[in-house]
C-alpha cells in the first residue's frame, strides 16, 4: 500500500476531528479510535489521502471522530462502500469499520465476499458480542446462554459465529485480533494490517460497558498469541479453530495478490465506442 504524500509531523491527536463522541464513558471504542490515530501517525499518513467507511452502530460512529475522509453509510454496508471507493481510487488508503452486528449479521454476506475479493483495505470489526446501539440484543458472536436481552429470553441457544475462521475460509489475506484494552498493541496490529496488501481483517475486542459490563474482565483475559503469524492456511486453520477468542496478534498473513483492475484507457476518444454500432 503506497501513500503519495506523507505527513511525518502529525501526532495521533491530529487525526481527530474534534467532534465529541456520543459513546458511553468507559466504552472500548474510545481505545479503538485512539489506536487508529496512533497507527495513522506511525505510518505518517496524510489525512486527506485516507478514507474510513462505516455502517451503523455505536462503533460505526467512528468516522465522524476522525479528521480523514469518512463515510457513515447504512447498516451492514460499509464493506461494499469501501470496495467501490478503493477499486475506483486505488491511490487512497481505505479502511472500513463497524460492529459485530453490522459486519457479521446484516453485512455477513459482504464480509465473506470482501475476504474473497481481496481488495487492498483494512476492515476493523469492534466486537462487543452485542448490539449496543439498539439496546443490547444478542449478536452473531454472543454466547448461546447469554440471557440479558428481552428478545432472547433464556439466551439465543445458537452457537456463536467464528469470524476469524470464516475470514480464513473466505480468503482474507491478513487475519489478526487486537483488543481495545491494549490500544498500543492494537496500533501495532493496525499498522501491520494496513501495510499488508489485500484484504486485512482485524477482529477488535471492544467491551460494551453498558450492556455487557462483565466484559470489563476482558483486560485480564487477553494475551499475546505465543506464535508468529503463519503464511500457511492449514496451520492458520488449526490455530483459528482452536482459538479461545482472547489471543491477540497477527495470526495469518497470506500472499494472494490484491484485486485491483487497471484503470487505464486504451482509446483516446470515447467516440471510438460508436464504431461497434455503425452499420
Amino acid at each position: 500500500m503506497d501513500t503519495v504524500t506523507q505527513c511525518p509531523s502529525l501526532k495521533p491527536k491530529d487525526y481527530k476531528s474534534g467532534t465529541k463522541p456520543v459513546w458511553c464513558p468507559g466504552c472500548g471504542d474510545y481505545s479503538v479510535l485512539l489506536a487508529i490515530t496512533k497507527a495513522m501517525a506511525e505510518m505518517s499518513l496524510s489525512p486527506e489521502n485516507v478514507a474510513l467507511v462505516s455502517g451503523i452502530g455505536c462503533s460505526s460512529r467512528l468516522p465522524a471522530y476522525l479528521n480523514v475522509y469518512g463515510f457513515h453509510a447504512v447498516h451492514g454496508r460499509a464493506l461494499p462502500v469501501a470496495t467501490g471507493l478503493k477499486v475506483s481510487r486505488p491511490d487512497l488508503t481505505v479502511l472500513a469499520a463497524g460492529g459485530d452486528g453490522d459486519g457479521f449479521s446484516i453485512g455477513g454476506n459482504h464480509f465473506m465476499h470482501a475476504c474473497r475479493r481481496n481488495v487492498d483495505m483494512t476492515y476493523i470489526v469492534m466486537d462487543n458480542q452485542v448490539y449496543g446501539m439498539t439496546k443490547g440484543q444478542a449478536s452473531p458472536t454472543t454466547d448461546p446462554d447469554w440471557d440479558k436481552s428481552k428478545l432472547t429470553p433464556g439466551g439465543t441457544k445458537i452457537n456463536p459465529y467464528y469470524p476469524l475462521v470464516i475470514a480464513l475460509a473466505s480468503g482474507a489475506n491478513f487475519i489478526a485480533r487486537a483488543s481495545s484494552t491494549d490500544p498500543n498493541g492494537a496500533a501495532k496490529v493496525l499498522v501491520d494490517a494496513m501495510r499488508h496488501p489485500g484484504f486485512s481483517f482485524v477482529h477488535m475486542l471492544s467491551p460494551c460497558v453498558t450492556f455487557r459490563p462483565e466484559q470489563k474482565d476482558w483486560k485480564k483475559m487477553v494475551r499475546s498469541a505465543p506464535v508468529e503469524p503463519t503464511t500457511d492456511p492449514a496451520i492458520a486453520a488449526k490455530r483459528l479453530m482452536t482459538d479461545d477468542n482472547f489471543f491477540l496478534g497477527t495470526l495469518y498473513k497470506g500472499d494472494r495478490p490484491a484485486y485491483q483492475p487497471e484503470l487505464k484507457a486504451t482509446v483516446d476518444n470515447i467516440s471510438e465506442l460508436d464504431k461497434g454500432f455503425i452499420l
Binding site: P25, K135, P183, A187, V209, K220
Partner: protein, 172 residues
C-alpha cells in the same frame, strides 16, 4: 514501562513526555465525555487535572530542550491499559462518576507513575537518569499526596452510586 536498565536521558525524557501528554489528552477526553453525559462536576475536575498535568509536561519539555528525543512507536512502550496505569485507561471512566471517583482515578495514576520512576531510578546506569527519575518519582508522589488530601474533602460515594433509574437510550 518495565524498568529498563539501558535508558539514556533522551530515552527517559521521550517516554516521560509521551506518558504525560497522553495523560493530558486522556483527561481532556474524559472531561469532554463528562460534558456529553451531563456530569459537570467530573468534567471540571478532569479539566483541572489536565491543566496540572499539562504544566508538568511543559517542565519536561524544557528539560528536553537541545536534545534530540528518539521516536518510540506506541507498541515499544511496555505500558498499556491492560497492565499499567500510568495513563488512565479508557475503561476507568463512568458517566455517573463522582469527584471522589475522579480523584481516586488520578491518585492511581500518580501512584503507578511514582512506582515506575522509582524502579527506573534504582536500575539506572548513569547518575543523570538516576537523578531525573528520582525527581519524576518525587513529583508523582507529591502530587498523589496532594490529590489524596483533596479527595478527603469529598464524601465517600454511596453504595448504589451507579444505579440508573432509567434504561439506556435506544438509538439508530
Amino acid at each position: 514501562m518495565n524498568a529498563s536498565n539501558s535508558l539514556s536521558k533522551a530515552d527517559l525524557l521521550a517516554r516521560t513526555l509521551t506518558m504525560l501528554s497522553e495523560t493530558v489528552e486522556r483527561y481532556d477526553l474524559f472531561a469532554d465525555q463528562m460534558d456529553v453525559v451531563n456530569n459537570p462536576e467530573a468534567a471540571t475536575l478532569f479539566r483541572w487535572l489536565s491543566e496540572k498535568q499539562g504544566s508538568r509536561t511543559q517542565v519536561v519539555k524544557k528539560l528536553s530542550e537541545g536534545l534530540t528525543l528518539p521516536h518510540i512507536s506506541p507498541w515499544d512502550y511496555d505500558w498499556d491499559d491492560a497492565i499499567n496505569t500510568e495513563v488512565p485507561g479508557h475503561s476507568s471512566a463512568h458517566y455517573m462518576m463522582t469527584p471522589y471517583h475522579t480523584l481516586s482515578l488520578a491518585i492511581d495514576v500518580e501512584q503507578s507513575a511514582a512506582r515506575l520512576f522509582s524502579e527506573i531510578e534504582q536500575t539506572a546506569q548513569t547518575d543523570e537518569t538516576k537523578k531525573l527519575a528520582h525527581g519524576f518519582a518525587r513529583e508523582a508522589s507529591e502530587f498523589r499526596d496532594y490529590l489524596e488530601h483533596k479527595r478527603s474533602e469529598h464524601p465517600l460515594p454511596e453504595k448504589d452510586w451507579d444505579e440508573d433509574y432509567d434504561p439506556p437510550q435506544l438509538l439508530e
